[in-house]
Subunit: 194 residues, 2 copies
DNA sequence: CATTTTGTTGATTGACCAGTCAATAAACAA
DNA sequence: TTGTTTATTGACTGGTCAATCAACAAAATG
């Protein structure tokens, strides 16, 4: 009973199913058939829309990154002062859909994928560059020349907290995670390190 | 032409081959046959000594962790002051065999593995707990009650820098990585954040 | 109505891979 | 010497999975 205009719906369902499956099972055991089943269709249809498993993963990755990017832009637009913008950048990494267990685990798998897939690597690098750039710009009015190294440190810390969360058992606590990063940033901004 | 007493030699060769293979190809495409070939034997022999692919990966993980643990103990024994011990803990994560590209990439795969394998998860958690405990004890004389949260922050930052290195293209620069973490720690120690 | 476009799947294929096993051979023990 | 332990592999199996394809069904188009 085919209905027209299904393509975007199917694509979306597959991408979301891929993220959940990646988070739950890990890239090793994720099969196209499983993803398709979770998305409520046959695996042949998944191939019809994405052509290959790799393309599906890349699409899932782009989706995660684009949602994150949109949330970052939204948060930045609201922040009036440099301090507010920094807080927004940190908070947005640890709130909403970004900090769901599934998504965090999917990120981890994307990192592994990026080690052998050029397109995945480029995507991830682009995200990192943007995050750093945003952090630098927000930090510059506050710390001047130290902005670059502080931005790098903050980016590393965000990734580290993320990584830890991927392995944690308890429910993810975004507020606590954000506080940890902010506590450091406060100390570093007011500190006298180079 | 079998020689006696080969078991430890074979096991060692397989473990090292597994780490290299894991770092170069990623857990998705690592097969027992590839590992065995790199270690200079048939896959049947690999099964003879390890029983399963999973057991081989776990052994590789234990090896990486035990080398790291030994280096940590060595560095701690040398440090006389709390400051020296903290520096030692940070430095040791970014020097020697721990910071080789292969090993860093293998770590990343271990993180993914830990999401679905209980033993791997326990191993990784044990390592994290030890690192935190060491950092806490070294920090306590310097910052008192803030030791716990600073230790958590330092651990996150070490992991984050590690993660970034796994994705980086340039040659790994352990000195720079260590300096980044130390710069933060200096600021945080002298800072007035909670 | 006839044709084209879009959606959909069951069945199939070809490859690969984890794990097993029987067989062989050197070293050692009796 | 005969038997036992240790080392080693080639050949095999059972299963799985990515990817393909032919065929069918509904809507749109003419």
């Amino acid at each position: 009973m085919p209905k027209l205009g299904m393509e975007p719906i199917r694509r979306d369902a597959l991408i979301k199913a891929a993220i959940i499956e990646l988070g739950q099972v890990g890239s090793l055991d994720v099969t196209v058939a499983r993803i398709a089943k979770r998305a409520g269709m046959s695996s042949a249809l998944a191939y019809h829309y994405f052509g290959s498993k790799e393309h599906m993963f890349l699409a899932a990755m782009r989706h995660v990154l684009s949602v994150y990017g949109a949330e970052v832009r939204g948060a930045l637009a609201v922040g009036e002062t440099p301090q507010a913008r920094i807080r927004a950048l940190v908070r947005v990494s640890f709130t909403g859909s970004n900090f769901r267990r599934d998504v965090v685990a999917a990120w981890l798998n994307f990192y592994v994928m990026a080690q052998r897939n050029d397109q995945a690597e480029r995507l991830l690098r682009l995200y990192q560059a943007r995050l750093r750039s945003n952090l630098r710009h927000a930090l510059r009015p506050l710390v001047g020349g130290r902005a670059a190294s502080l931005a790098d440190g903050a980016a590393a810390m965000i990734d580290g907290v993320y990584l830890h969360e991927a392995l944690g058992t308890g429910e993810p606590d975004g507020a606590r995670a954000a506080r940890a990063v902010e506590t450091w940033l406060d100390a570093a901004i007011s500190g006298k390190a180079p």
